[in-house]
Amino acid sequence: MAFLELEKVSFTYPGAAAPAIRELSFSVEEGELIVLTGATGSGKSTLLRLLKRELAPRGERRGVIRLGGADMESLPPREAAFSVGYVLQRPEEQIVTDKVWHELCFGLENMGLPREEIARRVAETASYFGIESWYELPVCQLSGGQKQLLNLAAVMAMQPRLLLLDEPTAQLDPIAAADLIATIHRLNRDMGLTVLVIEHRLEELLPLCHRALVLREGQLLGCDSPARAAALMASDPRLAESLPSAARMHHLLGLTGECPLSVSQGRQLVQRWMETVPLHAAGAETGAAVSPTGGKGALPPALELKQVYFRYERTAQDVLRGVSLRAAQGEILCLLGGNGSGKSTLLGAAAGLRRVQHGQVRIFGQKLSQYKGQSLYRECVALLPQDVETLFLCDTVREELARTGADLSCLPFDLTLLPDRHPYDLSGGEKQLLALAMVLAQKPRLLLMDEPTKGLDACAKKQYAQALKALRVQGTAIVIVTHDAVFAADCADRCLLLFRGQVAAEDAPGVFFGTNLFYTTPISRMTRGLLPGCVTVEEAAARLGKASSAARKEGGV
């Protein structure tokens, strides 16, 4: 008997014409780690919420969900609440109390456990998740990654039998995301915990999971082993983009057979491929890693920072310690770096929100102080903030667009936003797009963006990069703070690594990611030493493909 069983489950939201979930049947064995994936609006979150009784959306539901053989509806409230753990997408909002220790024991207090039992479980959980050193801190001092780890730990302290996670890494930087995924994997492996997780970031998770469940328009497209699910997803262009780099390269090369998923498998593929073709044929292509810079030296600068120092308080440490950089008109500049390296502060300084203590910030050759009143923000500089919700003031998308004079049709997206929706009710990706439209309505010549790809799926990211490239052609300078190496490799002209408030490295993406060992793309890791300077999937596939066709030609002669 299966641990979790769905039998012809359908769900329709009130007032909706079509059901969000249609006749879904599948079963999960105990101890499985299952990834739930599908395009935006495919019903992933609805399905996951249906599995958690307290969070089940209101609407018309049919079919039966069984947990451990018993109908979920018939479970007593306490058992239902505590046997299924649920972690939401945004780390901040699901925290209830002010201190880490209190948050850990919140669920245990709700269970009505005796004091000694709570003390024991809190102690165990805190040490397992490595929370001991920040156990007594207030939650507002934690980083996003720590907050999400705390949320997971607080749920795990209640010892649920089934763990559900709704895009737990969407709001995290890649390093924190990888940590969280490793923790989830460890829970599954060490404790035999059954886990269902919705994830866009399949790069790390797909190689680890037992099965992947692919949804399309509320229907089950397939529920199969990762490699076979990857083959299935490759047939759908929207889903194919979100596959791990190795799998995408595999499909772009037109290969059949077992699909590689992890970086090491991808590397083996590249090695095998190159063994079959003469080395000089592939080696001849090393010059391909030239980035498409539009002659950045020649163009006048849009943003210049010279020896900028900034600190928030007199006694605090400098956040920016002598940063100098230059972004030319018609150039996309990507700033990468860890948490606390000063990336967002730098954007704030460029946007005139933080007055720097030393050094100069010049925008189009003029000092910030020469822009009087609001003239800086009129057809000059625009800032896309990290938290795009801070942009929204109105109750509907329509009002928001009218207020800023934004036009959605200027963006190359096939997405139509419902005009009468509240901006907060949009999905993470839709929010980002609305925000982009609003910011672009200012007709900026210098666009500053803070983590624009947070919450976007791979397909939307691709389109987003297209939109930025179109802006670049018009001569807009774009400075992007991002953690997303794949995105930066795709659209940047130059990449900068910021470390402790200073620029530690600066190069074209091909050289930058080709040299970096950690801050780099999966493809760069797969092709290191084999195809120098190769950082994107398309590039790798093109160069390998060319090499093989060249070899074939030679063989033919």
Partner: protein
């Protein structure tokens, strides 16, 4: 382990209530002097000699309160001097000194109290009265600063978006009003997610336990009982000696009972010092033996 500051917050709170309370209900100059010395001493023990400026402020406050009484109140037999046809009397001066001592001593007791009672400890005290209220306050303590931070972020973003178009008061006010309304929506939206998170973790499914970081150990009970007993003896002793400031300052003769009261209060005031020193000595012994 620290001897006094890390005792159970209930014991510590009772101690402060006893130490400050005795001095607040008596105008006995001896008790007040002991209380003042003890309060300042304890604060110095906790804080070191760092915040000199705050001590100067306190000294100023002491002098001011001591001076105000004789300048405004002219009762008393012994006239020291006459200012603007108003007599300044010895009795009023003494009363002023005693009152100033009481005020400053109480302030110092509270300063020490607030140094020891961090958020978690206060919440523990509150949770003893009402666990539900403690949870609400804990949520508010997280939420209020969060709201403030979000407010500042929204203001900054809107500024770059050109919300405050011109630098005039009407526009600024209108902008602030819009930000406020957006923040209300944000707060509600946030609240819904928090409520989801609470429901998902079984809030409201039955009786809750109230978990705390602190427990009662033998030392805590000892401190609690000692505080109450010593305070009781001090009050009993103080009641055995009458103090009169007007029209003539008069203190009834020292009896055994009053002496016992003084000694008990002295012991009470020195209790934290004794407990902290005991731990310090214990530490030295431990490190010698190593």
């Amino acid at each position: 382990m620290q001897g006094f500051t890390e005792r159970n917050p209930i014991s510590v709170a009772v101690y402060f209530l006893a130490a400050a309370g005795v001095a607040m209900f008596s105008m006995d100059p001896v008790l007040l002097a002991v209380s003042l010395c003890g309060a300042v001493g304890l604060f110095l023990l906790l804080d070191g000699l760092g915040s000199l400026r705050s001590h100067l402020w306190m000294l100023g406050l002491f002098l001011l309160s001591a001076v105000i009484n004789p300048l405004t109140y002219h009762n008393g037999r012994t006239v020291l001097l006459v200012v603007n046809h108003n007599p300044i009397t010895l009795e009023a001066c003494l009363y002023g000194l005693a009152a100033a001592g009481m005020i400053v001593a109480t302030l110092y007791w509270f300063r020490s109290f607030s140094r020891i009672m961090t958020g978690d400890r206060l919440l523990y005290l509150l949770g003893g009265l009402s666990p539900g209220l403690a949870l609400v306050i804990s949520m508010a303590l997280r939420y209020v600063p969060l709201y403030g931070r979000q407010w500042r972020r929204v203001e900054e973003t809107q500024r770059t978006l050109g919300l405050y178009r011109e630098e005039n008061a009407v526009d600024t006010l209108r902008g602030k009003a819009r930000v406020f309304s957006a923040m209300t929506t944000w707060a509600l939206e946030n609240g819904v997610i928090t409520a989801d998170s609470m429901a998902a973790r079984g809030y409201g499914t039955g009786r809750r336990t109230h978990f705390t970081l602190f427990r009662f150990r033998a030392d805590d009970i000892l401190l609690l009982v000692l505080s109450l007993v010593l305070a009781g003896v001090s009050l009993w002793g103080a009641a055995g000696r009458t103090v009169q400031y007007y029209p003539v300052f008069c203190l009834s003769p020292l009896t055994g009972r009053a002496l016992a009261g003084y000694l008990a209060y002295g012991a009470l005031v020195l209790l934290p010092l004794i407990l902290q020193t005991k731990e310090a000595i214990a530490w030295h012994f431990w490190s010698w033996k190593k």
